[in-house]
Symmetry: C2
Subunit: 181 residues, 2 copies
């Protein structure tokens, strides 16, 4: 049995703040490693804001060396300009991940809430509460950092069964996603 932990980097992209969380997973145990927020200067040119996101994610990967990444799928806003900006921030974050050849998985907010709280309609505070509980944190992390940890936990929780099946040869990885044969 494999007892080496898998390190997961979770990212919650936003146009102003990108949350991140790093956890270690061994079997059904989860351990907190790090979390935080990447804040972009709101009045800076777009290229500069993109650079802030990319360089911070580069630094996080260099410091913590995750093996997999999980990224929250963003809410499509009714405001087209806001949606475009959010898309650009998310695209930059994904670019920084794939440039390091990190297998990258996506989860919707619904999937995150279902995995972490057990129901898709959970409030943001419930997600934060469960993140604190599951990782035995001594304090509550910032909302965006908690979302980064939540998406990392989601990836871990949804793939316990899959990882076991993989080891038994019942699954294959295709295009970076698990698929049942």
């Amino acid at each position: 049995m494999n007892t080496r932990p898998t390190r997961i980097l979770g990212i919650d992209p936003g146009s102003r703040v990108t949350g991140f969380g790093v956890i270690d997973v061994r079997g059904r145990e989860h351990f907190y490693v790090a979390s935080g927020c990447i804040k972009t200067p709101p009045n800076a040119p777009l290229a500069e804001r993109i650079a802030v996101i990319v360089k911070h994610i580069d630094e996080i990967i260099a410091a913590y060396r995750p093996q997999q990444a999980a990224v929250e799928q963003v809410f499509v806003n009714v405001n087209p300009a806001a949606t475009l900006m959010l898309g650009q921030a998310r695209g930059a974050a994904l670019a920084a991940l794939v440039m390091h050849n990190l297998p990258t998985f996506e989860y919707t907010a619904l999937q995150v809430k279902q995995a972490v709280v057990g129901k898709g309609k959970a409030a943001k505070e419930q997600v934060q509460h469960m993140v604190v509980q599951m990782l035995a944190l001594s304090g509550t992390p910032q909302a965006d950092a908690a979302d980064g940890l939540a998406v990392a936990l989601t990836h871990a929780l949804r793939n316990h069964g899959l990882a076991a099946q993989l080891q038994q040869g019942g699954l294959q990885i295709k295009r970076g996603r698990f698929q049942v044969k």
Copy 2:
């Protein structure tokens, strides 16, 4: 007088096709270097599509070594999902550019048309026609490649005067943009 050419990489981001064009600029002369299209597999997971964009731009920068980049500002679509996808593709392209520390400038479609054709309401064919004329091309490049060349030309045309002022010390670069002192 500086007679060494400046090499500019122009990028026209799209959710399915990202056009690029590379030109050399010496004084008021423009020379074609390269152009083409980066096509992303439409049914692949987003991370894979982002990887295609980032890796192709990486290869283009390695092959042609541009000194500056110009990126077209995209049209905000009425369809939020399409806008988000376009934003993500554009964010990935910008990430690839800033990761190479390329000074990156943005131009709207209106600015491109005004610079290349002389009027903001020019048809797409007129832009293509002027790109062929200005770079003395023997054939017409694909639409997206022509748009990449057009945004590179726009950056060259709009900065002739600025570049001259820069050499005289009348301008400074702040946050990647030219500013009058």
